[in-house]
Symmetry: C2
Subunit: 419 residues, 2 copies
């Protein structure tokens, strides 16, 4: 603890401007000092640079509007403690200066923010503003930029029905099977069902929280969040320990929309938060997808409202294939589900099948890893891999082996029978 | 029977061209001689006139294409028997020369038919062609043109679910309550539920059949069709006794689409007949409305396909209010449900309430009729009517008394909460 220099001393060091550690420290301080979602603060940090911005705020010499938003927090400093606390729970602070920063995805927020007027000071305006985060607290093994590269948000009501949970879970599972990451809010109901569906497919899933990445909120989702942190990512703009204040959910929603290629709303009551996330995705130019339900269900009213809103241009979806038609890459994701041909498997040895089943869908892994998962020797793995590759079942990514993506097949266009 | 002159003699009479009876006889003959849905036949009848058309066909001197479609039926004649048979079951032949012919509604078919090429002779083409009927067999008390003036088609799968039947019945009931006629196909499932819902609201409903108006088809709907004939209308292009051949349903569907202001599909399997009716309505420029359902239900797959087809421009609907937004007259049907203010009723005498409840929604009726329905004297009716009128509860249509239409109220625009 004593080894960590005082914040102001660290920022004043000659190499401060260029040092990543200093920039990270400065951004860590900003995540606690300035409530995320403020255009004014974000612009100030962008223009001054994070280190200079913190120096100015600490000295009380930032522009009045910015200084006012930070208030007494300018005098406090928990940045070193926050970084230590994150480290203890296996988390880190990812900053725009890092390689794993999802710059492309968040670019939509940068563009949108440049069109925003300065904060009017009203909370309702601030929670709506499309502003990039100054940094992201991230807990989990994957590189953020990779994990969210091919991702879809699956969101919906906390007071979900069995129907909605079934659909959310099934959709997330199928998206996961095809190598897509499911992003959601870690809440009860649809969010939890979506995360669980993705985990069941052994696919990465991301929970974007409105509180610290070490908070167990909602309390009933503790085990789920722990599993997401082990196999996917838990992400937040707020520092460790931050409480899930109500308005933070609204600020958080823009991040779910921005990090993903599109947002699927599974169940939503009339004028609900899930609707808001969807509309935000629409404003960022991302596809808005809606799962319909019985018109007799209050939990589908919000979904149907979204489809009926022609200005929004939401698309009704009923399956993962429909979702991939909207967010997928042309020619790649329009393909039918990756069905490993039964006959191709039939000719395989027991070892070959175990190795095939051990291959991950996304990132390639080493033969050693395959051997460990398949429960056989590395030599055996190396013996069967050539046959599996010839059969088009696995492929070498340059760094490892994975399941070969589905063949490009043009799906037959369905048309209503003229009758 | 001997009083009815021979067809050819009737047609040859000097006043034949102008006489409505002769024209009706000629068109009756055509409904049996030429299968409906043929552009070639319809054009020939339009150009030659119905009486001359029949004379030419009987003499074998019609154009080859037309003569071929009629074939040996040119030599047969059941027109007088058909008219008698219709009369016996309380039906009549409504022809374009009649005041009650729904010329305006069917105009869309005339316009569409003028753009059609001559029949290629293939059944699939013929069943798709938008062609006006040469005449309509109609069974029931109302004037056809009045009954279908404000009408909506509610169609769907025969293999419906409890959900679909509930929604169809409820929708039809609410549309009926607001003075709209529900048109459907008299089939099992969604059709039957829609007819029943309308009847329960004491609103007129129209069953457009693919067989003779005196056929009990499907057999299980006998009592329902009987009730529709008593309180609404049973309509068909085919003469009495005609059998419900499979292709006739497809020909019939265009009529359901054309007679109504819009078509609501409640449940439809993938690539189903209900979808075809909806697409036909779309091609005629009529709004296509679709009730969504669980994505897990095979009976909603067709509905969702329709919503997803952007070219069709189908609108998702979940309530009668949504339907009326599409088909209603501006400023009239955008109003919220006609809720007779409870306070307005509270001040009324027992007799006044009974008279109010006796007032029909659509056509005005005489005080004598109101007295009969309300179970009181005409003098009492005449005593309470002025007060009811002053309270804005009833109105004089020029020919009778009816419930006053709902006040014009601009409904508050719903908007997603920014949160």
């Amino acid at each position: 603890m004593t080894a960590v220099p005082d914040l102001d001393a660290a920022l004043a060091a000659p190499a401060a401007e260029g040092g990543t550690a200093t920039v990270r420290r400065a951004r860590a301080w900003l995540t606690r000092a300035a409530e995320p979602g403020s255009v004014v603060v974000w612009r100030f940090v962008e223009r001054a640079g994070p280190v200079a911005a913190v120096r100015l705020l600490r000295a009380g010499r930032a522009p009045d509007a910015v200084q006012a938003l930070v208030g007494v927090r300018a005098e406090q400093d928990a940045s070193a403690a926050d970084l230590r606390r994150a480290d203890r729970c296996g988390a880190r602070l990812v900053i725009p200066e890092d390689d794993e920063w999802p710059a492309l995805a968040l670019h939509a927020l940068t563009v949108a923010a440049s069109g925003e007027r300065a904060d009017s000071g009203e909370m309702s305006d601030r929670t709506k503003a499309p502003v990039p985060p100054v940094a992201l607290w991230v807990r989990g093994p994957g590189r953020l930029v990779d994990v969210v590269d091919r991702s879809v948000a699956v969101v919906g009501s906390r007071a979900s029905t069995a129907y909605g949970e079934h659909v959310a879970g099934d959709l997330a599972h199928r998206l996961g099977e095809r190598g897509w990451t499911v992003v959601s809010g870690g809440a009860y109901g649809i969010d939890a069902a979506a995360h669980r569906g993705a985990l069941a497919a052994q696919a990465p899933t991301v929970a974007v929280l409105a509180c610290g990445i070490d908070r167990v909120y909602p309390s009933g989702n503790g085990a789920l969040l722990e599993r997401i942190a082990q196999e996917g990512l838990v992400v937040s703009e707020w520092p460790p320990g931050a409480a899930p204040h109500r308005h933070r959910f609204l600020v958080r929603n823009r991040l779910i929309a921005a990090l993903t290629r599109g947002t699927v709303v599974v169940e939503a009551a009339a004028r609900s938060g899930a609707q808001a996330t969807a509309r935000r995705a629409g404003r960022l130019g991302r596809p808005v997808m809606v799962v319909p339900g019985p018109v007799t269900s209050a939990m589908s009213v919000g979904c149907h409202e979204l489809v009926r809103d022609r200005a929004l241009g939401a698309v009704l979806v009923g399956s993962a294939a429909h979702v991939l038609e909207e967010v997928g890459r042309l020619g790649e994701d329009l393909a039918p589900p990756p069905e490993v041909a039964t006959d191709a498997r039939e000719g395989l040895s027991d070892i070959a099948i175990r190795v095939l089943d051990a291959c991950p869908v996304r990132r390639g892994v080493s033969p050693e890893r395959l051997a460990a998962v398949a429960g056989c020797g590395v030599v055996q793995v190396l013996q069967v891999l050539p046959a599996l590759e010839l059969a088009g079942l696995v492929e070498w990514t340059g760094t490892g082996w994975r399941v070969a993506p589905p063949q490009r097949v043009t799906p037959p266009r369905k048309e209503g029978r003229p009758s």
